[in-house]
Amino acid sequence: MNLRRPSKNQPEVFEFNTSSLEEANKIVSKYPKGKQQSAVMALLYIAQKQNDNWIPLVAMKYIAKFLDMPYIKVYEVATFYTMYNLAPVGKYFVQVCTTTPCMIRGANQLVEACKEKISENENQLSTDKNCSWMEVECLGACVNAPMMQINDDYYEDLDKEKTLEIFDKISKGETPKPGSYRGRLNTEPENNRKTLMDIKNA
């Protein structure tokens, strides 16, 4: 499966649901009349969110019509940016950071967990079609390495067991708690803070 190529299995219809439509209209209204095309990236993202993390071709056509612009222009944008998925990635889209800081802190264990629990290969749907995973570059949470992103949430300070736990919860349909899995708040030091002691709310 290649996320950069439109999937072979395309749905027949796509339409914004009420909340997406509201969001889309809000974004379009930010641009002056006649320049609504500028909203194309935001709208593609809304479509992706609504449609289980991927953009089908009908959605591009729908957006093209929505913004009154040629379909090929939407298609160009959607194929240019790598964070638009053009093939199904599952309702839970797992992105594991394997850039140096995470790698040093054991990101390979997370990858192993993904291979065990989700699918053998990257970008391959799990057997229940609910989940897929991919390695990504730095997600900017190096202080809490290793970490992964599932849809909009970060899961940090992981190891193999904790990752498997999270996947278990997902497969049961629960939403695991985002954030650090070693009990610390955000990115604070592990054994109380050692700097900026004189500032109360630092």
Binding site: R4, P70, Y71, I72, K73, Y75, E76, T79, F80
Partner: protein, 676 residues
Amino acid sequence: MPKLKVNDIEVEVEDGLTVLQACEKAGAEIPRFCYHEKLSIAGNCRMCLVEMEKSPKPIASCAMPAAEGMNIKTNTAFVEKARKGVMEFLLANHPLDCPVCDQGGECDLQDQSMFYGVDKSRFKENKRSVPEKYMGPLIKTQMTRCIHCTRCVRFATEVAGVSELGAIGRGEDMQITTYLEQSMQSELSANVIDLCPVGALTSKPYVFEARPWELTKTETVDVMDAVGSNVRVDTYDWEVKRVLPLINEDINEEWISDKTRYACDGLLNQRLDTPFIKYNGKFEKASWDEVFKIIKSKFENSSKEKICGFVGDLTNMETGYIFKEFFDRTLSNHNYDSRSDNRYVDVKERENYIFNSSINGIEDADLIFLIGSNPRYEATILNARIRKAFVNNNTKIISLNDVGDLTYPYESLDGQTQSIKNIFEGSDEISKKILDAKHPIIIIGESLLKLNSADYLFNLIKDFLNKNNKFTDNWNPLNILSCDASTVGNFDLGIINNDINLIKDLKSNKFEIVYLVGQDNLEFDKKDEFIIYQGSHGDKGAEIADIILPGAAYTEQDGHFTNLEGKIQKAYKASYPPGDAKEDWQIINELAEVMNNRKLFNDKDELESSMFNFLKLQKEKEIVDSKEQLNSNFQNEKLNIQVKDYYFSNVIARSSKTMIECDNSKLNLKSTGTEG
């Protein structure tokens, strides 16, 4: 007007021009791939790098506006190194298949790599390969050769007005594609072949036919529509291999329509190469002497009122003129016409049948009103101008009928003649718009002139414009859009008969002898008429003929054509008529000799000078005061736009296989070919 120095030569350029244009003005040639005068600036090939004083890096001259005091160097070692670097990157993924590439010999990349290419490659990685794309029957793709200049994408969006081409993906994976893998829905699509600086988009019908240096090039004009696009006809031996556009800023700029470009294979099919006589419903070959003798006896045994003649849509003016002379002098009869229908035309004034605002004038217009015309199919290149006017000046365009996609948005009315009446009697909103417009253009199509009340409406429009002082010294808003190459020329020559209704008489079988010169569009039921058909192709005219005189096509004889704006242009002979066929004027001249023992003209030069003399006299004779009473009555009708099938509008196109393929591809919009 900024002044700048290019290689120590001082140049002054207009505001808004780029460094590249300034360099050209100073005589320094800049290599380029993505830059094109007629398209927007992309600046993505980086081949046009030049050195600018005080800039640490070389600049892309095509995208840099020329500014006061710049000091540009185009021939330093620094520039050469930069361009060599760019060229190395361009060649990194370009296949070395020039020997099997159709672009070889006229390839920008090939030419420029002779100057800037490095003879060794440092690229050890795998070369990129791109899957083939299907772009219809005209464009052959070999996308591995693509260097991503995006000229084709910009042409399709900006000039052709079909946003169907795009660049998908990014970086090395970028690909040019049509999203549905179908042919481009444009009549200008094949121009991307000329624009492509490499061999990624090449001509499908011309594939592996010839190398550019083997071809004889003849600069001539096109006859597929009345625009008179300037073209170059490339011939190999006597065979026309391809037709390419020539630059003429006043007419076709740099583009030609697909029909102009590809109908040329029709010159090889269905040709009449020897005289034929019909015996018992079957054509048999004959000699010129035989047929001339038969024609002579037929003419002599018939009263002159019973003879009529029609000139066709692709004949040149020389042929038209000698045909007229033949009737006037040899047969002493005026039963000739160049129309195949009874459309209204008043040839007393020349402005009544030409495109007065001129094609260039379209760009100055602030309101365009189309009445009974679909310029997209009737005059594709002119339509591209209207689109240009719309894109550049946001010109308001109104059409009386809804004629489908014209590649630009327009307001359409109900298509009733009553609306025309209302508008040009001044009692409509649009009449106000026309009055407010400084440079309005009213384009009247042939469909309007075919109406029963054409006479009334035409004069109403003209009077309205006249009364409101829309005719000025430098602006004439009245435009007639002719569809065929020889229409205006024939009207100039007076090959028209408004005294008798020839078509009606023909349909009621009043004539004994009908002489058709390249006229294939007459619709009548043949009874006992003796029909002489002179022409190049075996089509409708030849089918009903009793005697066929094989003539020459437009690439096979010298001759003049007047385009729809009234510009006379000469078409040159690029090839020879096949077999025993002769040039059209020669046939009529020889026939006259058989009839009267005297040629009409001694040679072509005499014919030409006599014709120009006639045109000059005609011009002087032009009666300015020709106010006639409106003798016809108004009648409310639905104006139907009759557009001839675009790809089959004349005999050459009808004989062309490529045109059949084009027609099929436009009907069949389903996705075909390989998936990208």
